[in-house]
Symmetry: C2
Subunit: 293 residues, 2 copies
């Protein structure tokens, strides 16, 4: 997907919502688990992990399918968190493939995979997510530097989303540490990452992860990367504010994809789970509409 | 595997070699490809990637099986590079599962996965590699800080291998950058990572990746983490020296697992490929024996 297509989708829909598909089998609705055979129905949550993984993977895909059907009207992107699929083994990987293939191509499909390795290895990851699967974007950890990121940038109309300032408490350990002062300016590691990585690509093929919980830094971040899109996790369960990120970090092309995972997909664990997810997504969308005006 | 068991294996075998299983279908021996049906035999290398991925995955497992049979006498560890399996889709993931289950439990089994995410997500990765698959260790990127690493450290007798100073050119971008001086001491990001991450675990459940190409820094690294094991990539194809890392960074418990991937597994692409891999591994082992004395 090109930047133009993404911006057009956001403007026409009045939404910059990304729905995160992080399906934890232990949190899936009871009635759905019942549909997948007696074994699932008879077990309590604590034992669910021991169930046959093929059944769990089918259950996860069915959950995703209903969530996607119910939310696609209100969002412009989906983010698949690879960890939740890998935890189900090869069958889980298959459920990830089925899920990304089910997401309509009108939507921006993000693999939240946090990959990054030496060049010949990153090339293999790029193949996995951009060729074998039709993802539009992948999240990448910057620690190993330019040659660990470049293979992803070589794909036309695909996006690399580099971790900048993440939403978790551990962000203070390194991302928030101060680097040697340059020209009397104080600079933190995440700022050096933004400035350096921005030069590896362009605002048309590179984004940054900026956590919604990092409100104090939004203005510094925007100064360094005025034109880039940010993928913003951390609203909802993690406590970040949609209003704050929207007011402080929106740019002329919107420049934001704000992700909600648990707050949407687990809005209800009853039979109405998909409808509740749709409503939660619609509520984010109407908030976003107001900020877009 | 406990540290004691690992050190005992190294001492009794006279080897701290780790063999890296990075099977690139385009580099697999022709005769082996021929055995996997006409489609493989008829295609040239450029088209190999388009073959049925289930066949490729079977081919990859068969290649690994023969490499493991031929090298296990000479090494104490195997390192599975997840990217090469993911590039073959769900069937590739299955080949990874079959491979790690084939490696004898006498050997230290490393998932070279470079994972790391917020806590609830890292927990899922830990489940994938430590519960669903029987890996002894996983490589983890430190960028996101303590809570992205802690879930891996909660497993008894499992190891977390944190990226310290990697072997690739991009290591200079961030790892090698200078942080704010503390107590007049110059300190680089990788040194802060070593010092900080060392406190998250112990030398009994945490190691660091230190690239063999970083010889100038081995002494600084050892001063900061005198008791830790290092997983050392970068000899062979990447140009690092086994002699240098062995002389400068060995500690009283050896403290090194030196990885060779391409130099062993692609020692020959003929019918003798497994024998050639065994010979390459044996050659490393005899060099290592000398350094151990």
């Amino acid at each position: 997907m090109t930047r133009n297509q993404l911006v057009t989708a956001i403007r026409s829909k009045g939404s910059y919502l990304c729905v995160g598909l992080d399906p934890d089998p232990e949190k899936l609705p009871r009635h759905l688990r019942d549909q997948f055979g007696g074994t699932v129905a008879d077990l309590d949550r604590a034992n669910l992990a021991d169930l046959d993984r093929a059944t769990l993977a089918d259950l996860v895909f069915e959950f995703n399918r209903q969530i996607i059907d119910a939310t696609q009207e209100h969002c412009v992107a989906y983010k698949i968190n690879t960890a939740f699929y890998e935890a189900l083994g090869a069958k889980g990987w298959e459920a990830m493939e089925r899920t990304v293939n089910y997401i309509p191509a009108t939507h921006f499909r993000i693999a939240d995979a946090k990959r990054g390795d030496i060049g010949n290895t990153s090339s293999q990851y790029a193949r996995a997510f951009f060729e074998v699967m039709p993802f539009d974007a992948i999240t990448v950890a910057p620690y190993m530097g330019w040659d660990s990121v470049r293979p992803f940038l070589e794909y036309k109309d695909k996006w690399t989303i580099v971790l900048g300032l993440t939403s978790n408490p551990g962000a203070a350990d390194f991302e928030g540490q101060r680097m040697e002062r340059m020209e009397r300016k104080e600079i933190h590691l995440y700022e050096q990452v933004l400035a350096t990585a921005a030069a590896w690509g362009t605002p048309d093929n590179l984004m940054f992860v900026i956590g919604a919980t990092q409100a104090d830094s939004f203005e510094r971040v925007r100064r360094l990367t005025p034109d880039h899109f940010y993928l913003v996790p951390g609203i909802g369960a993690q406590g970040g504010s949609l209003e704050e990120i929207s007011k402080k970090a929106m740019n002329k092309d919107v420049g934001l994809l704000v992700n909600a995972s648990r707050a949407v997909i687990y809005a209800s664990d009853g039979e109405d789970f998909a409808g509740a997810a749709g409503k939660a997504a619609a509520a984010y969308r109407s908030e976003m509409r107001a900020f877009l005006e």
